[in-house]
């Protein structure tokens, strides 16, 4: 069999038939407030992410960016406000439910299985797509085997896409940081997400690694139409990559718009230059 001949998208089309056209809101965050005891992490934040775009969330340290991602993928439950994903509103959702609905993410501090190989780590990203139950998989014959082969092929396409063939069988713990980040992206992609959340995908990378990662993010977005929300501190990267930017400061939204609009927004400039708050 010649795999070349099968020119299908790397991430399949499993979750793209949701009836939402490109440019329509995929996710709407409405009046979200989140507090930990007396500490207000997020206050009344609203924004949307439209299908097919790269949406950046920026802000100084402690602005509530990661909390926002955690709210979106159901890890934190906001005290107030609603989240509408693919037309369905919800207040409380568990992370695994978010995963089942097609939200995948990477973490600021890499959260891979260090002792497992790159291949196995990415395979774990397929878990929400596996149809056979654990018993079948333990037997590993018949339908479970066929399913495993299909998943393996999808994973191999991701490995090819991210150019990590040479570390396929290397335990992730032995890899340099930049490559671990790439493996983590691979695992998120393996879930064939409708919305991909990236928490500082380029933190701690050198220039070359950043360029590589930027290219992967753009390619995922352009070639496969995956909607991406990312948090990033490198402004050069943010302005180049994203279609729209939302700016948070002290848990509040202070800016929202195209990179150019945000760049010229006085509130944003103040937040980054550190103007004293009353």
């Amino acid at each position: 069999m010649n795999v070349h001949a099968a020119r299908q998208g790397v991430f399949g089309a499993a979750r793209s038939e949701d009836g939402i056209a490109r440019g329509e809101p995929l996710l709407v965050v409405d009046n979200i407030s989140l507090a930990f005891g007396g500490v207000k992490a997020i206050t009344d934040v609203s924004f949307d992410i439209v299908k097919g775009e790269i949406r950046a969330i920026i802000g100084p340290n402690g602005a509530g960016k990661t909390s926002m991602l955690n709210v979106i993928n159901g890890f934190y439950h906001p005290q107030q406000g609603t989240i509408t994903f693919r037309g369905r509103s919800r207040r409380r959702m568990q992370p695994h439910e978010a995963a089942m609905q097609g939200i995948a993410r990477t973490f600021q501090n890499i959260a891979l299985f260090k002792g497992m190989t790159t291949l196995d780590n990415i395979m774990t990203g397929r878990i929400t797509l596996m149809k056979r139950n654990m018993l079948w998989q333990a037997l590993w014959h018949g339908p479970a085997e066929a399913e495993e082969i299909a998943h393996r092929e999808a994973v191999e396409r991701i490995i090819d896409f991210l150019e990590i063939e040479h570390i396929r069988k290397v335990p992730v713990g032995r890899l340099p940081y930049g490559l671990q980040k790439r493996v983590e992206l691979g695992r998120a992609l393996a879930a064939e997400p409708a919305l991909l959340l990236l928490d500082e995908p380029m933190a701690g990378m050198n220039l070359e690694e950043k360029e590589d990662m930027s290219r992967f993010i753009l390619d995922v977005n352009r070639d496969y139409g995956t909607t991406i929300a990312l948090i990033e501190h490198d402004m050069g990267v943010v302005m180049d990559l994203s279609d729209r930017v939302v700016v948070l400061d002290y848990g509040r939204k202070i800016g929202d718009g195209t990179p150019d609009e945000v760049r010229n927004n006085q509130a944003v400039i103040d937040a980054y230059l550190g103007v004293a708050h009353d």
Partner: protein, 655 residues
Amino acid sequence: MPVSPDQEPATFPQYLLANARRFGARPAMRHKDYGIRQSWTWAEMRDEIRRFSLGLAELGLKPGDKVAIAGANRPRLYWAFCAVQALGAIPVPVYSDSVAEEMAYVISHAEARYAIVQDQEQVDKLLSVGDGLSIEKIVYDEERGLAGYDPANLHAIDDVMALGEARLQREGEAPWLETVAGARGSDLAVMLYTSGTTGKPKGVMLSFDNLVVAAKSGIAFDRLSEHEVVIAYLPLAWVGDHVFSYAQSYVAGFCVCCPESAETVDVDRREIAPTYFFAPPRVFENLLTAIMVRMEDAGRVKKAMFDHFIAHGRRVGERILDGRPVSLVDRLRYWLGDICVYGPLKNRMGFTRMRVGYTAGEAIGPEIFRFYRSLGLNLKQLYGQTEASVYITAQPDGEIRADTVGRPSPGVEIRIADSGEVLYRSPGVFVGYYKNEEATQATKSADGWVHTGDAGFFDAEGHLKIIDRANDVGRLKDGSLFAPKYIENKLKFYPNIKEVVAFGDGRDFVAVFLNIDLTSVGSWAERNNVAYGSYQELAAHPRVYEMMQRHVEEVNRDLAGEDVMAGSQIRRFLVLHKELDADDGELTRTQKVRRSFIAERYAPLIEALYDGSKSKYVETEVVFEDGRKGKISATVEIRDVPVFAPAARMKEAAE
């Protein structure tokens, strides 16, 4: 009219058809993709290439057109060669890692109208210099990242093949077969641009006859068959890869395997275990270093076993390989060593099935060369050029020397000009340089002799030794030959010496500058309790000088044993107080010594080498990595070295 089965093929497309008949079910090509080895038999490959070729014709490719090919070693790019040749057009492979301007030069010089490339990277390069180029259509293999590009003159190979398939359905295969059958051996097969370390690259035109004859003689020389397996990992634009992975594969009918990616070559080689392998010395050096580093971390027992058997291998391995007499006990120990050490080691490196291996391109360190041979690997050296379709000399089995490049290959005549330059004549000799009659005439004489530009001589056994670029070879005042690179290489084979510059042209004797290798000498210093605070201090350390003196003396002893070189033994040397550096303009970016610049910059030191002084104070300007300039000063010691009479060596040998 189809090619009649009994007609001897003369072009590669004709070989393709013949192989599809002869070895139809045998694998022709393998490629690891998506983690699995995909293979194509000769019959399948013929179908793919036919589709591809017809598709290119459909795009408007005409006989005589030039087609640039750039990318990694992938089956479809190899198919591109044959698909293009089948239409009577000429492939022009381009180094895929060359920058856009270099690529543009080659493409516009070759007047290529089409380009077949691997991916977005190459497409971007072509588009970035777009306007000035003759390129009309670009065909690409991997579509990733190209989604948003203007599709007007951009075609995926898949789409081109689909066009070809449609044409095949429409008019059948007869017209295509007719074109293939109509080609003659004297037709131009390929244009390979030489890398051009001096001046602009030149397009070497090779005919099918050149390549087929060269391929055949290589096949006969090493008794290659359709059962060989090779791994294609060297640049497509390099003549070595073109002959080993393309020409010889078609002529002999053997299988070519493409690696998954450039980073996985080591793993792929282990999986494939090639039977016929070709590599520049660098590859062998890196493999050996990797093994030695890992052995340092091995347990005591393993390390002891490794050291013991490697030492034994060094003693008898080469003799066994050459079929010379070895005692039964030694053979038994070698056999045991093969089970415990050599076998696993070969397996690790992917050499388990290797019947013939070649190293070429530059001189290989004798120690490294002997190491591989002592494991029982039939590693040999050859000397070749693009202009010769590779083969000029090669080492026959059983006559392997670390310091020669072997005897003239079958069908090759060699003579040494009065200037010391090596000239050759063979059926593989190129047609000419494309659009450069002047250079053609300067290189190739009317009666077919080609100037290699290398100086060399034949040793007593009839093996050719290459000593240097002919232009760099000079004479000492007493008339003896002075080949700086030959001397420098001998010294550079010592791991402690990083760089050497030899002087002597028009002088009384040979003298050298040495650069220590900080990694190697540094670790020696650590092990031997030699304290130092800086590079400069280490370089000037008396014990380092002693070590360097020993190396120089050994080289002198070596030179004394060679009639031609005995006169150019090293009389004086010094160890430079700073590392030669490309930032200071002392080396080229590819780490080659810039002789004339160094001669100017260190003129006082050179004078000191020849005026007999014991030391010399110098100040040198240096450029730091951030661009600032500074000065370093040092008093450099100069040492005399004894020379050996040629006779002394003879006596020693007779004892």
